[in-house]
């Protein structure tokens, strides 16, 4: 009995080791942004149903940075084919990719996503501006042309039109691509309007340092980093009815009976206002394809083409229904043409 088990396990290890090297992968592997994840899942599932001769792609989560890190591990069957990202790939990441042998990367922009501020459904109406958000959540604020420690405790301290609530904001953590958009479009924008850049430069910082000073979020517990997904943010707002959370538009639309959305610069977020560019806080969503894997992994080319088809990302597609903001017609066509032409970064 024991002899049998020993032999069996030895055989098993041998088989496993040899098969691991020999088996060719016939399934697309994708990883990355949790914002893009639901869209990638819908496309992957429909792709599997529409093309019975290809296997359904495997989609992992892990955040934009995590996905791109896996993506840049190298070329080969045990590396992923596509990285989803809710921000543009960084130069440092392109460099890391090139060093690992991933020299040709094709960038695909699938559409846009809005970032919304929402409170509990029974709360008051909110009208925010980037300046308010900067003044409430930045580590340092501008007072008389100088950057000083942020001490505001209530939203009404920041702007008398806002409710008399203690500041408690649940913002995306550092590993999320959303964080970058939050910093760029709200903190830096608000900082600029209030003259924070000049104030920082006057204090002896260079341009980069000044932006970093604007971006820094206060660390006194009033702005809470959420490293999980939006469900965690929703749970925080459920338990703290006077909290303000940052969500993706799609998540908000799926939970509109629990959340009340704030306007930014007087514009309420919706697919229309984001597509037209009126709503200020939106960002493009991407995925990155390893060109070396095209033609090697079965179905990879077809998957990307299927993703870019109007029946997937058009204005009346399942992705748009879930909450993706479709790019204008010309831009979608441009993406299809670029991919077909094999344009790399």
């Amino acid at each position: 009995m024991n002899k049998f088990l020993l032999t069996a396990s030895a055989a098993m290890i041998a088989v496993a080791a040899s098969a691991g090297y020999a088996a060719a992968r016939d399934q697309i592997q994708i990883a990355g942004s949790s914002t893009v994840l639901p869209y990638a899942k819908i496309v992957a599932e429909t792709f599997g149903e529409t093309f019975p001769n290809f296997k359904t792609p495997v989609v992992e989560s892990g955040g934009s940075s995590g996905g791109l890190k896996e993506f840049c591990k190298g070329v080969g069957e045990n590396t992923i084919d596509i990285a989803n990202a809710s921000r543009k790939i960084r130069d440092s990441e392109v460099q890391a990719c090139a060093e690992a042998g991933v020299k040709e990367i094709q960038e695909v922009r699938i559409g846009y996503d809005g970032i919304v501020f929402a409170t509990d459904i029974n709360g008051a109406d909110w009208a925010l501006t980037p300046e308010d958000i900067y003044k409430a959540l930045a580590a340092q604020v501008v007072v008389d042309g100088k950057l000083v420690e942020n001490t505001s405790a209530k939203w009404s301290d920041v702007n008398p039109n806002l409710p008399d609530w203690d500041i408690a904001a649940y913002i995306p953590g550092e590993k999320h691509g959303t964080r970058e958009v939050f910093e760029e479009k709200l903190l830096v924008a608000g900082c600029e309007k209030l003259g924070g850049i000049e104030a920082a430069e006057a204090a002896g910082l260079d341009k980069k340092g000044a932006e970093a000073a604007c971006k820094a979020v206060r660390k006194d517990g009033k702005a809470v980093d959420i490293d999980g997904d939006y469900t965690e943010t929703l749970a925080r707002i459920d338990s703290n009815k006077t909290g303000v959370g940052v969500f993706g538009l799609a998540f908000y639309e799926n939970n509109a009976d629990k959340l009340k959305v704030a306007t930014v610069d007087g514009i309420a977020p919706s697919t229309e206002t984001i597509a037209s560019g009126e709503y200020p806080v939106s960002r493009p969503l991407f995925f990155y394809v390893k060109k070396a894997h095209l033609g090697v992994i079965p179905g990879l080319k077809e998957y990307v083409e299927f993703f870019l088809d109007d029946q997937m990302v058009g204005p009346e597609s399942p992705l748009a229904e879930y909450g993706l903001v479709s790019a204008p017609d010309a831009e979608r066509q441009q993406q299809r043409d670029d991919f077909a032409a094999g344009k790399t970064m």
């Binding site: 024991n2 088990l5 020993l6 069996a8 396990s9 098993m12 290890i13 496993a16 080791a17 098969a19 691991g20 090297y21 088996a23 992968r25 399934q27 592997q29 990883a31 949790s34 994840l37 639901p38 990638a40 899942k41 819908i42 992957a44 599932e45 599997g48 149903e49 529409t50 019975p52 296997k55 359904t56 495997v58 989609v59 992992e60 989560s61 892990g62 896996e70 591990k73 080969g76 069957e77 045990n78 590396t79 992923i80 459904i121 999980g228 997904d229 939006y230 469900t231 799609a250 998540f251 799926n254 939970n255 509109a256 009976d257 399942p318």
Partner: protein
């Protein structure tokens, strides 16, 4: 000295009892019992709170709203150009959802010219109907042209509304089901055309972005593969290591160091094993990502210390007299171990192994790094194909935005808890059935 005089005096006068603090000691015992009962009560309270919250949220996941439709498999819709005899792709790519939509529209009395209403009718039926009807037609093409009674899944939003999980008092623009659809749901309910049926799909379907067609099939198979691999690898390796250490190895500093390290290894956080697996199995040995084989090997590393510790304890529990008797009758040490000690230690070893397996079954962290926290739709045919695991599926569903995934998350927890309970029951059964006392 005062004691002596006091005692002496009392003995002479009357046999007074020495104060030995009896009252105080009884009170202390009473208090301690109270603390014990309190501790158990707290534990039981939290256990029941957990079970109550999981079961009360999750039991509805095992029931799924279905709609009974008499679907007319209209050749004009399935095959408008009538070339299915020559082109097999026609049957695969036909517009099946329209068949179901038309059937439901007819049942609800909606005109086929009323486009906005038709869109709402489509929204009542799951998109999974495409594959469902396609499979019916592909399996039996002669069905085209006939009318059949088919149970189709309702869409997740209708399902949630039908189960009363959507707050219908808010304005209809803020929820996913419209007032019109709610009215239809009530009508279909009254007609008996919409009923909640047992949800077999939650056990058989793979992952899906649509809650109503999402299931734990891939996760169950993935977990099964991993458990099989963990069992096949960790039991022989663990038992061999412990027999050698316990029965053959000399007791010196080296074996002491090994023993300490094994005990420490048992306490290493599981995510560390995931990092190791990513670097060694996927990176260095080039094994496929997301495969249950890699997952099983990582979990084996995690389970081995538990198995070794349990096995050594079981071996040590066999009385030395058994060993002496075997050796005294002329058995070799090898015969002594395999004929006498190991069979007596077997129940303990099996119990330890099953508990180690149960631990491995509930592990998510190490699987995160080797790519098993993923959206996998297709069943894994071999342990080399991408798969997920039961706790991973719970984690994935907990992060979904749709309301209908809330109940499914709790439903998945119930399924995982049942698997764990079965494994622990097996451990108890083995122990009571085979345990020997000396």
């Amino acid at each position: 000295m005062t004691d002596v005089t006091f005692n002496g005096a009392s003995v002479a006068a009357r046999p007074a009892r020495r104060d030995i603090g009896l009252k105080r000691r009884y009170a202390a015992e009473q208090r301690f019992r109270l603390y014990g009962i309190l501790a158990i009560a707290i534990g039981i309270f939290f256990l029941f709170a957990l079970l109550f919250s999981v079961v009360s949220k999750g039991y509805t996941a095992f029931w799924q709203t279905s709609i009974n439709l008499s679907v007319n498999f209209d050749p004009k819709i399935i095959d408008p150009q009538n070339k299915r005899a020559t082109d097999p792709n026609v049957l695969l790519t036909a517009n099946y959802p329209v068949l179901a939509r038309n059937a439901l529209a007819e049942k609800l009395g909606v005109e086929t010219s009323n486009r906005p209403a038709l869109r709402q009718v489509s929204g009542m039926i799951s998109d999974g109907v495409r594959t469902q009807l396609r499979n019916i037609v592909v399996a039996n093409p002669s069905i085209i042209g006939t009318t059949q009674n088919v149970w189709v899944l309702a869409s997740a939003d209708v399902d949630s509304a039908n189960k009363g999980q959507v707050d219908l008092s808010v304005d209809q623009a803020r929820r996913k089901v419209s007032d019109q659809q709610v009215e239809w749901i009530r009508k279909l309910d009254a007609d008996g055309a919409m009923v909640q049926r047992f949800n077999t799909g939650i056990f058989t379907f793979g992952a899906s972005s649509r809650p109503e067609t999402a299931g734990m099939g891939v996760a169950i198979i993935g977990s099964f593969y991993m458990m099989a691999i963990v069992l096949v690898l960790s039991l022989p390796i663990g038992v061999a290591a412990s027999i050698y250490l316990e029965e053959f190895a000399p007791k010196n500093r080296l074996t002491d160091i090994i023993e300490v390290n094994i005990n420490n290894l048992a306490a290493v956080p599981s995510i560390v094993f995931g990092l190791l697996g990513l670097a060694v199995f996927v990176g260095f040995m080039g094994m496929p990502r997301s495969a249950s084989l890699v997952g099983g090997m990582v979990l084996t590393l995690m389970t081995l210390p538990t198995v070794i510790i349990a096995t050594r304890a079981a071996l040590r529990a066999v009385p030395p007299s058994i060993r002496s008797a075997a050796l005294g009758l002329g058995a070799s040490r090898m015969q002594m171990v395999f004929h006498h000690v190991l069979p007596l230690a077997a129940p303990g070893i099996l119990t330890g192994t099953i508990i180690g397996l149960a631990q491995a079954l509930g592990e998510t962290a190490p699987l995160l790094l080797i790519g098993m926290v993923a959206f996998v739709v297709d069943y894994p045919a071999t342990p080399l194909d991408p798969a997920t695991a039961l706790p991973v599926q719970i984690f994935m569903w907990a992060n979904e935005a749709e309301r209908a995934f809330v109940e499914r998350t709790s439903g998945a927890i119930i399924i995982l808890l049942m698997f764990l309970a079965v494994m622990n029951l097996a451990a108890i059964f083995l122990r009571s059935r085979f345990e020997r006392r000396w």
